[in-house]
Amino acid sequence: MENKQTIATGAKPWLDQSEAPFIRISDLTKKFGEFTAVDNVSLEIYRGELFCLLGGSGCGKSTLLRMLAGLETPTSGRIEIDGQDVANVPAFGRPTNMMFQSYALFPHMSVEKNVAYGLKRDGIAKPEIADRVAEMLKLVQLDGFARRKPDQLSGGQRQRVALARSLIKRPKLLLLDEPLGALDKKLREETQFELINIQESLGVTFIVVTHDQEEAMTLSSRIGVMDEGRIVQVGEPREIYEFPHSRFVADFIGSVNILEGRVSEDAQDYVRIRCEEADCNIHVSHGVSCSENQKLWFALRPEKISLTRQRPEGDFNVIKGVVDEIAYLGNLSVYRVALENGKILRVTKSNLDRHSDDAITWNETVHLSWDDNSGVILVQ
């Protein structure tokens, strides 16, 4: 998966030691009674980033976003936006704006009035409001809909009104809660790129909450994966996908086969793992900080496995199995291969050839193999 360059300058400020973070979240915790929604989160986000908070429902990502907006009060911890501690700044005084998951459009106001609402609150002169609203409606391609009421718009149009309304005040930070969640697949894909374009052209820092990993991959400069109120990994999309830190991240982002094994050989520049459940010896050609006989996991993406009828040469990185199920998805096929002990591994193959006369089919005995550096060793 290609990492998108979503920052206009192409820079990666999070790698630059001298760059000061734009948003600094330190030791932030939010409890609802006994339930800890956000658990001691620290996070730094840089100016101009499109940062995605990714996680399943109830992982605390929305609560974190709402604390940034000032709609929830942290139980403990600090939030700094552009160097300013916002603890005592109410929602209406923060330099942030939010796009709500339900869009939260004002049903009694026209599109125009909805978008102008934020500017009116700031006491901006009427002619300027009119100009800026017209300009913003043009940006989201809603010129001509200014006088409609929200209930006279389609879902996609409403989404764009919500976006326009949240951008009109030129916030330092835009918070988006599942911005594309209510759109159908096709519209969602189009809108993703529109969102990136708008973000690039305005240079506003975006924080997007989503449960859709594909969306996070497409949109973001960096992703923060959340689980049970904690941030479990922060990184660029490729980093998260190819170098997950834990089984949770590996499993949550994309599809993965996880093999459990023990270290059989721990050398300076390679590691060997004995995996009993797949009756297989794994060779990884780089050193890992581990000890002999330590239990660990080997994560292998389905697209990195080759499927052959003949057993490839070598004693390592080969597993034998029987094709149990094939799902044809058009661009690729997903093979479910059953091992002798019943464990299922997933393998994907690009459908490069239009004809399938020679393709591996159901109930065939096959060998799964992979390169020395295709998998990731996980110790947690």
Binding site: L71, F92, S102, A104, L105, P107, R121, K169
Partner: protein, 311 residues
């Protein structure tokens, strides 16, 4: 034969007799209204065109047969003319409108914060608070109005309390004043305003209010720009439920009001029972009805027009 087949046969039979499921569902309330609203209304209309006589019933018949087989229909319009001649009726109407208007405004001002708070309460607390609003209905209305007499009279509980606290030395005259009437009306009709307001306020999506705050609106601005306009349907419904019955209210002004509390309900009662002038009483009732129906219909038309325009 199965149950289903029996039901189908029954349905077929009813259909053959001209009954359709839908017509039965609509028909029952329709005939109820015809029987208990339209027919009594026509009876009242008829009486309003007759002449008061000392008899039983105390009004003349509209149709008379002359000796040679001619039917005479005699419509007495003098009852209506009389309502305009005697300034009592016009001023009673106006005074009723005034009292109804101001008490609706007061009820609205008292009920809105209550409904707002109940709608914002947690689910458990909400049910208890709603229960407390409805609870007074479990006691007789008459009893509750009588209880106010005990509170308000010269040697009543309120005056005793004020005097023992040294706030006043002389008892304050509250009974038989317009103040007591307003108090009674506001107290009695409060739930009719709270409930429709609550229903609209509880439906208000909290994220809309959050969006307003996020866009820079202070709580007061959010209330006047978002909450209040979105609760207009509840305000209209509640105001109708208070304003209309208060115009014809009889019990509260009769028990709590004094001789100078002029309300059309009281006038109607006097015509009917004290003067036994059923035709004039009926004419008062007819005029009252027409005066109330016209604004309601105008309002309804405006509402349908606005809801059609927005969809």
């Amino acid at each position: 034969m199965s149950m289903r087949a029996n039901l189908l046969r029954l349905a077929g039979l009813l259909k053959a007799l001209g009954f359709r499921g839908r017509s039965i569902v609509i028909g029952v309330p329709l005939w109820w209204l015809v029987l208990f609203f339209l027919i009594p209304f026509l009876v009242v209309a008829k009486i309003s065109f007759s002449e008061a006589i000392i008899a039983r019933p105390p009004y003349s018949s509209l149709i008379e047969w002359s000796g040679d087989g001619v039917m005479l229909i005699k419509l007495e319009f003098s009852n209506y003319a009389y309502l305009l001649e005697d300034s009592l009726y016009v001023s009673a109407f106006l005074s009723s409108l005034k009292i109804a208007f101001f008490s609706t405004v007061i009820v609205l001002l008292v009920a809105y914060p209550m409904a707002y708070r109940i709608a914002r309460a947690s689910e458990g607390a909400r049910n208890i608070l709603l229960m407390l609003v409805i609870l007074p209905f479990w006691t007789s209305f008459l009893l509750r109005v009588y209880a106010w007499i005990g509170l308000l009279k010269t040697k009543g509980i309120v005056n005793n309390l004020l005097m023992s606290l040294g706030i006043t030395s002389e008892p304050i005259v509250m009974m038989q004043t317009n103040f007591a009437v307003y108090l009674g009306i506001v107290y009695t009709y409060l739930p009719f305003m709270v409930l429709p307001l609550f229903t609209t306020l509880v439906k208000l999506d909290s994220s809309i209010l959050e969006a307003s705050s996020d866009l820079g609106a202070r709580p007061m601005t959010t209330f006047f720009k978002i909450t209040l306009p979105l609760s207009v349907p509840g305000i209209v419904a509640g105001s109708m439920l208070v304003f209309i019955p208060v115009i014809g209210e009889f019990v509260i002004p009769a028990l709590l009001g004094g001789p100078d509390t002029l309300m059309i309900g009281k006038v109607l009662w006097n015509e009917f029972f004290s003067n036994r002038d059923w035709p004039v009483a009926s004419a008062v009732a007819m005029v009252l009805l027409v005066l109330l129906v016209i604004p309601i219909m105008l309002l309804r038309n405006a509402q349908t027009a606005s809801s059609e325009a927005s969809s």
